[in-house]
């Protein structure tokens, strides 16, 4: 079975004819990985058998495949970067990479890609590394199905799970990341895909995304991260089908959007976040078919946002649907389902006949005077809220959904 798999993998790598396989391990032809790399030529495959390999910093500077069998351990002894990839077309697969060095000057990583392309990093387990997998000027690389975990308690002691800097056409697929500073970090990364990753319990952001344009992230789970997900200073970002759950805290968001334009947020689920989406300086954003459930605020839209279209979303059981700090509204909210809507539908077209105002008076009061949260849901404040619905005075006049749905959408 392993052999068949191996042959198949070889096929994927398109190994040139005449490539050799070098076995590495106790009682094999070569006992150290470093020696095997030195021996290997471009296109060769290194089969690394189980064992603990303490070989300081392994530098892969040839187009070779490193394949671990039953997760051989590459130990950085808390001093070194475990594996540095400096050649294009390298495959690193099936290793257990542990204990990288920690430095405040250098960004040590478990596996790091240096200024190269077409690298595949697959099926590895990384434990207790400073940075997990790091791509610096990487192009067209695949980082797939790795399990990356760290147990640091302080942000300074911890790097990011998957860190991409000035890279392009990256594919980050199916990784599991726990306990790092940021689960996935993108800075100046373009045309890349983040797909089916599971980023939980990281100290800061599940996904941290800056100056990265034309990227998509799809079907990821971001749960219980210190501050949720931050997407900043980017344009043409597509966010589809993700789950943002239980990101709790006073500066914690399902997504924090800052200076984002021409982007799409569709089919996502936001559950039990303190703030589902926080938007600042966002423009030309399409939000469709998302479901906001049991969040503190489903969304907070600062007055600096414009041309945001919020339509066909479900708002269910949120404490507050929409919060805002201004009265000028340049965004549209039409055709959503709001469970707090109390209107009627006389002509039976499944659209409420009177508009819904998603900003409740009490959310405005709490915005201005936070301790007033203490009176939330009291008899008196519900009376005030009802009065406000009849005679709007504090809430923005134009922030309303003219076509509120009577029944929730099936999302």
């Amino acid at each position: 079975m392993k052999r068949i798999l191996f042959i198949l993998l070889m096929g994927v790598q398109a190994v040139p004819l005449g490539a050799t396989t070098i076995s590495v391990g106790k009682g094999k032809t070569v006992t150290a990985i470093r020696a095997a790399i030195n021996k290997a030529l471009d296109g060769d495959t290194l089969l690394v058998y189980p064992g603990i390999y303490r070989e300081k910093n392994l530098i892969v500077n040839k187009r070779i495949s490193l394949i671990g069998i039953n997760y051989p351990v590459v130990d950085g002894e808390n001093k070194y970067e475990n594996i540095s990839i400096k050649s294009p077309g390298v495959l690193v697969q099936g290793f257990k990479v542990v204990n990288s060095g920690v430095s405040s000057i250098e960004d040590f990583a478990g596996i790091k890609i240096y200024n190269t392309r077409d690298v595949i990093i697959r099926n590895n387990r990384l434990e207790n590394t400073f940075f997990g997998i790091y791509s610096q000027y990487g192009t067209n690389c695949i980082i797939e199905n790795n399990e990356i975990s760290a147990h640091n308690l302080e942000e300074q002691q911890s790097g990011n799970g998957i860190h991409c800097w000035k890279s392009d056409s990256m594919r980050i697929i199916g990784n599991k990341i726990r306990g790092h500073r940021d689960g996935i970090y993108f800075e100046f990364v373009t045309h890349s895909l983040i797909w089916r990753n599971d980023s939980q319990k990281n100290l800061r952001y599940g996904l941290h995304f800056m100056f990265s344009n034309h990227d998509s992230y799809v079907t990821n789970i971001f749960r219980n991260n210190g501050a949720g997900v931050a997407v900043m200073f980017s344009h043409h970002v597509k966010m589809f089908n993700n789950h943002f759950e239980e990101n709790w805290g006073d500066a914690s968001y399902g997504i924090l959007l800052k200076e984002i334009s021409d982007s799409h947020i569709e089919n996502n689920r936001f559950v039990k976040n303190t703030i589902g989406i926080y938007m600042e300086g966002v423009s030309r954003l399409q939000m469709k078919k998302n479901s906001f459930e049991r969040n503190g605020w489903a969304m907070k839209i600062q007055a600096s946002c414009m041309d945001i279209t919020v339509s066909s979303n479900n708002f269910l059981g949120n404490t507050f649907d929409v919060g805002t700090n201004g009265s000028l509204v340049l965004n549209t909210f039409n055709g959503n389902y709001w469970d707090k809507y109390e209107g009627y539908d006389l002509n039976r077209n499944r659209i409420g006949d009177i508009p819904y105002r998603p900003v409740s008076m009490y959310s405005v009061i709490v915005e201005r005077n936070p301790p007033a949260m203490m009176l939330f849901r009291s008899f008196m404040t519900s009376l005030l809220d009802k009065t406000e619905k009849v005679l709007p005075s504090l809430t923005p006049e134009n922030l309303k959904d003219i076509y509120p749905l009577m029944k929730p959408l099936r999302l």
């Binding site: 404490t319 936070p370 301790p371 007033a372």
Partner: protein, 255 residues
């Protein structure tokens, strides 16, 4: 004491109002839960019942009951019974009937539709508020001889605890919005059992929002084990204090 409690409870159970209250709670909570397709909204409706109806009924019913039992109390006082025993029996009988009515009327629907932390907290707070307002009603009833005045006082007390107090707090909040008064507000909320109960429920129901900056101060206090225990302790004090005062008054009261 057991004997007297027995007769008080038998008497209350024979009272149709109590049965009506139980049915009212039951029908109301069942319809709230079954009409709303979303259980969270059902809980919200139930919250209003707990915070408004439970104190009101507890207060008014107990006050009227005490006045209507004047003969019974008089009869008992002339018998070889301690006055404290008579009063405590009256309290125990009223409190346990109110608790039973709430448990049957609102507790069962909650257990059917929403048996989670929020639901349990609501039942707990509802039960506590029932007892607290029985104790407050006893104090109001023992203080005023006149029935009409006593019932008036009970209604005023309800108005105060459910509306006026909050209005006063809101006024304070805006008057002193430039000062860091969050911590003081935690203390102030202890002065009203309805507010205290509401905040405890909010911490379960609106946990996401309470985790944010605005709710953080409450979360930091009420969310901890110490804060939680302290809050429940305060709620118990809200039972014990009015009750002790009313016993003291009743012991000296001329019948």
């Amino acid at each position: 004491m057991k004997k007297v409690i027995k007769y008080v409870i038998i008497d209350i159970l024979r009272n149709k109002i109590m049965l009506g209250y139980t049915l009212f709670l039951f029908i109301l909570s069942m319809s709230i839960f079954s009409l709303e397709d979303n259980a969270a909204k059902g809980l919200l409706g139930l919250l209003n019942i707990i915070l408004i109806i439970v104190p009101l009924v507890s207060l008014i019913f107990s006050t009227i009951y005490v006045y209507n039992s004047a003969e019974f109390i008089e009869l008992l006082v002339s018998q070889p019974l301690q006055r404290k025993t008579i009063w405590m029996s009256l309290f125990t009988g009223l409190a346990s009937s109110m608790m039973l009515a709430f448990l049957a009327g609102a507790g069962i629907p909650v257990l059917i539709y929403q048996p989670d932390a929020t639901g349990f907290m609501m039942i707990l707070i509802g039960e506590l508020l029932s007892v607290i307002f029985v104790a407050i009603a006893l104090l109001a009833a023992v203080k005023t001889r006149d029935k009409a005045k006593g019932i008036g006082a009970a209604i005023l007390l309800w108005l105060y605890f459910s509306l006026l107090f909050d209005g006063f707090i809101l006024f304070l909040l805006f008057q002193f919005s430039d000062y860091p008064i969050e911590k003081i507000m935690v203390g102030v909320s202890m002065l009203n059992p309805i507010d205290l109960g509401r905040i405890l429920i909010l911490l379960k129901m609106d946990i996401s929002a309470m985790m944010g900056y605005t709710g953080a101060i409450f979360k930091d206090f009420f969310g901890t084990g110490t804060g939680m225990s302290l809050s429940f302790l305060v709620l118990i004090v809200w039972i014990v204090l009015p009750l002790a005062l009313s016993v003291r008054n009743f012991k000296r009261k001329d019948l």
